[in-house]
């Protein structure tokens, strides 16, 4: 017997995949995107606040940021999602009604913020102190100098690490199924799971996995491309090098 037959039959049943595909596309994919994109936005904003607090000269900002980061980075994501999603459910009920998405997004954002905060902080701290001095010497306040000069440079330096975190977030979005989802709220993974449970064949789960790859792989390549461009500048501008730089790159002097 083919030792891999279980693998083929259980995970690569095209028929089972085709059956799950329409619901994956119309329900699962939009829901995963809603969860991941809103948590990415909120998590990045919170992460930036944490990063700024983390480099603050005020102990009362630095310390809470430190503790927050340690806690939310240290807890398993599933534990945080349950803690927020179930612990705050009565509160959520009052504000948003029975929809588990707001608390799910909140929990995902809080987790992502802990990591993204550290990523942004390391980027911001890598910007040379001379840049701050240069901006202050022009008359910018500390806040303006940070916002216009330091943070944009710091964030650019850590774009790949930031996207890594967004990829983790896309995958972690599947964990909101802990909170109990009605049919129309199911995201990719949950739909795959439901098909697997009713058919006894895991192929729909593999299909869900393929959807995650379709989301994450292009994201990685896009950010690498952007990163390269930011480091080198647009290709056309490179043609405008000055005569005294030309020998260094071995081109024919004009």
């Amino acid at each position: 017997m083919d030792p891999l037959s279980t693998l083929w039959e259980t995970f690569f049943d095209w028929h089972a995949m085709r059956e799950a595909l329409p619901e994956m596309l119309t329900v699962g994919l939009p829901n995963t995107l809603i969860l991941a994109v809103s948590a990415a936005l909120l998590g990045s904003v919170l992460g930036m606040l944490l990063a700024i607090a983390g480099i603050s000269r005020t102990r009362w900002l630095r310390w809470p940021a430190r503790v927050y980061t340690d806690v939310f980075r240290g807890l398993p994501a599933a534990a945080t999602i349950l803690l927020i999603g179930i612990g705050l459910a009565p509160l959520g009920m009052r504000v948003w009604g029975p929809n588990p998405y707001p608390l799910g997004v909140l929990a995902l954002s809080l987790i992502a913020a802990a990591y993204i905060g550290e990523i942004f902080r390391s980027g911001i701290q890598s910007v040379e102190a001379a840049q701050l001095e240069g901006a202050r010497a022009l008359g910018f306040s500390w806040g303006e100098a940070m916002r216009l000069v330091i943070v944009p440079q710091g964030v650019r330096r850590v774009l790949p690490a930031w996207v890594n975190q967004l990829i983790a977030l896309i995958k972690d979005s599947s964990l909101v199924y802990f909170l109990g989802l009605v049919a129309s709220q199911r995201e990719l993974f949950r739909i795959g799971q439901d098909y697997a449970a009713t058919t006894g064949n895991e192929s729909a789960l593999l299909l869900a996995g393929l959807f995650y790859l379709v989301l994450t792989v292009p994201l990685t390549h896009a950010v690498n491309w952007i990163d390269r461009r930011l480091r080198q500048g647009p290709a056309v501008a490179g043609a405008d090098l000055d005569a005294d730089l030309v020998p260094a790159i071995g081109k024919d002097p004009r």
Binding site: L138, G139, R156, D242, D244
Partner: protein, 247 residues
Amino acid sequence: MSTTTATPVSLAVRDVHLAFGAHRVLRGADLTVARGATACVIGPSGSGKSTLLRTVNRLIEPDRGDVLLDGRSVLGDDPDALRQRVGMVFQQFNLFPHMTVLRNITLALRRLKKLPEDEAVRIAREQLDLVGLAAKADARPAQLSGGQQQRVAIARALALRPQVMLFDEATSALDPELVKGVLGVMADLASAGMTMVVVTHEMGFAREVADTVAFMDHGVVLEAGEPAAVFEAPEHPRLRRFLSQVL
């Protein structure tokens, strides 16, 4: 360059003291620069030249002493407003690498002077033209030579129409063949009547351009005077020793 000099002011630094912990960097430094004059500050490394310069625009706050523009103390002013009146150029240029040359210059015009975009761009192009880099407006700083970057940094500071310009070893990081162009721009600015304080190791520039040369050592200005007097008839033994080492 006449368009760049707003109304130059006189500058006086009076008995400025500063310590970083136990390390006393400035120990009662004095410097006087007449309206529209250029003072070159020379002296060995670690003598406090760059620190003194930074107390003028209050990038560093002195512990004691006073800084006066046109006879009025600036220590009570809003430091951000003061720095728009006092331009500064650094050894490492400190251009913003994520912006084009033009953007580097328009940033403060738009955000601080609240000028409309087209007005900011017009001023920036005018300043770039004055330092001979009109063609580089859309380049990134990293695409320019060190000398060109420093000229952009000068244009960036001048665009705010400062009343005083500070130069902190503006040519020390440059390859020798690029020094001349930057010193030329600085000399033009001096002859146009800008009040300038120039911390420099370029003794030729100090001798030719400066109205006053101040020699600093161990946190004080030991000797100051006209270039001819300082270079040809130095009084203090430490100045004589310094000159014998650098000339």
